[in-house]
Symmetry: C2
Amino acid sequence: MTQRRPTIGVFDSGFGGLTVLKALLEVIPDADYVYFGDTARLPYGSKSVETVGRYAVEAAHYLEGHGAELLVIACNTATALALDRITAAAHVPVVGVVEPGAEAAASVSNNKKVVVIGTEATVSSHAYRKALERRGLNAREKACPLLVPLVEEGWIEHPVTEEVARIYLGEAFADGFHDADALVLGCTHYPLLKPLLDRVAPSHVSIVDSAQSTAHAVAGRLQKLLPPPPVGEERRAVPRLKFFATDSVEKFRRLGERFLGHSIEEVQHVDLKE
Amino acid sequence: MTQRRPTIGVFDSGFGGLTVLKALLEVIPDADYVYFGDTARLPYGSKSVETVGRYAVEAAHYLEGHGAELLVIACNTATALALDRITAAAHVPVVGVVEPGAEAAASVSNNKKVVVIGTEATVSSHAYRKALERRGLNAREKACPLLVPLVEEGWIEHPVTEEVARIYLGEAFADGFHDADALVLGCTHYPLLKPLLDRVAPSHVSIVDSAQSTAHAVAGRLQKLLPPPPVGEERRAVPRLKFFATDSVEKFRRLGERFLGHSIEEVQHVDLKE
């Protein structure tokens, strides 16, 4: 039992969750991973609570069926809209990205005033504002629906993306939030825009990427679930990765590599019987 | 029988098909309409042939179940990727938007050289190029994945949208297509950008919106299906409209009005048992 490697299930509507998987691989290399991208029904960011909840629970069950002993909801929209519902439906522990993101923001913000950017659905849920207020922070939430399509178009360093970011952040850092000192990337696509957002955001602002803090939260949960290997023994440190996607596997491989930062070998198509 | 009003089913992945419905209401006001927007699974434009085909056939059956005697596939992606599959699965006549759009382009282009803009999926299918080549025209197809999110963000007349259009059209009207004299709007979202595209496209270019030509194609099919009312009698010219959406009905109403150009009263939520 002590030598058994844990299997971690990671779920996202598409590719963005791969930025969280990337952080997980750095923090917890001695695990196996099953990743589910619901690419046939993406994006979740413009959809309703009911629809996102139904999709997310299906994905959670799929990953449990493939051996996941812990589920990471590596999608801000699914976490914001459906974490409770997923946790209730799942038979294993579930970690979302909102609480770790809020925790990281609380630790870097000095004046307790932060801006959160995310999809329309994440922002409407006010999940971040609630999580931040519980920690004594004031939050301005701003929906940035064009950033995901810009990332998927590959316009990572592009004048149009810079102009769009300037408009969105200009609206967010206004009316009493000029002095907010942290910017939370409340969507797993946004880490790809970090250098650009760093240039566009006011210079006193720290950028908080919840991928890192989520990976550490998962490591903490895992320690409680599985005892560490005995002294002198180590779990094999080369993670095994399995990917499932509901739309084209070829496209998943091609676009996914941009998010994960290295090549994606094996992707299997999944039909959720729609 | 002669006084019976036809019921026309109109299908799109979301809201764009409402620009086609708008044209249908002008050309065929003496009909009833059932509109199905698959908003829980939009957009189709970035998805695979297999996935779009499965979704579209489900929608077609749904509309038949609600009395549609003729189906209009008011979505370029679904038409381009799945018209044959829908036609084979349906029990009523099916009209797509690609053939009418190609027909209209053939009638306005003098030098038989046209540019078609659309989603990634529509462009990859080459449905427009094939339809235009059958009519003796040369076509350059250009995917413009950012235009749909820009329209949905409401940035209809916006410097960012103008810059994005300038980049896309600059790439399209190049390398042997500088003198193309027609621009086909191969996505039902694009008619909302017609004034902007008219400014950005080279001045000698005519813009072809397939909504109008599709409405006339439907009127032609209908005449063969249903005899006109006897002389002296007329069908009631106030169309009845029924809307179905797979995601939030409130959002459908709100966003849909922008596309249809007038208010949307009754929207019913549909669960396609996913």
